[in-house]
Amino acid sequence: MTATLLLWSIFLAQILLVAAMACATFRVLRGPRAQDRVLGLDTLYVNATMLLLTFGIRTGSTLYFEAALIIALLGFVATAALAKFLMRGEVIE
C-alpha cells in the first residue's frame, strides 16, 4: 500500500519536474535576450539534477547521485562561463 503511494508520488513529482523543465526550455527558446536564455539553461540544469535524484529514489540505485552531482557541476561551470562571455566577450581574459 505505502509502496504504491510512494511510487505514485514519485511519478507525480517527476511529471512536475518535467513540466518545470518545459517552462525553462520555453525561456531558452523564446529569449528575448541572451541573458534570459542563459538563465533558462541554468534552471534547466537544476531541474535535471532534481529529476535524477528522484530517479535514484525510484530505482534505489546510488549511481544516479553521481550523475546528479556531475550535472550540477557542469551547470555551474557552463553558466559562469556564459555569463562571463556575455559581460566581456571572452571567457578567459
Partner: protein, 130 residues
Amino acid sequence: MTHLADLPVWAAIPVALLLLLGASLALIGSIGFVRLRSFYERVHAPTLGTTMGIGSVLLASMLCFTVLQSRLVLHEILIAVFMIVTTPITLMLLARAALYRDRSEGSDDVPAAPPVQTGAPSAQDTAPPV
C-alpha cells in the same frame, strides 16, 4: 520496485511529501519564468528551486537511502553545499552581465553606472569580492 516496499510507513510518507514539495517549488519557480515580465524579475525565479526545492528533494533522498540501507547516507549534503555556494555566484554574474549590457545600450530601466574613480582600475574595483 521491490525496494520501495521495504520502506516503513513512517519514512515513506515524509519521503513522498518532501519530493512533492520540492518538485512543486521547482515548477512554481519555472512558471515564474514564463509569467514575470522583465529579466531582472525573472532572475529571482530559479532561487525557489535552488534553495528549498532541491533542499527538500535531497532530504527525501537522504531519508530514503538511510532507512533502506540501514546506515547513515549523507553524501547528498555535497550537492546541497555545492548548490548553496554556486547559485549566488551564477545569479550574481548573470545579473551583472545583464546590467552591463543594458548600460552599454543606454537603457533607461537600469540605474546609471557609478562615476569612475580616477587612478583606480574600475572593472576590478567594482567586482563583488567573491
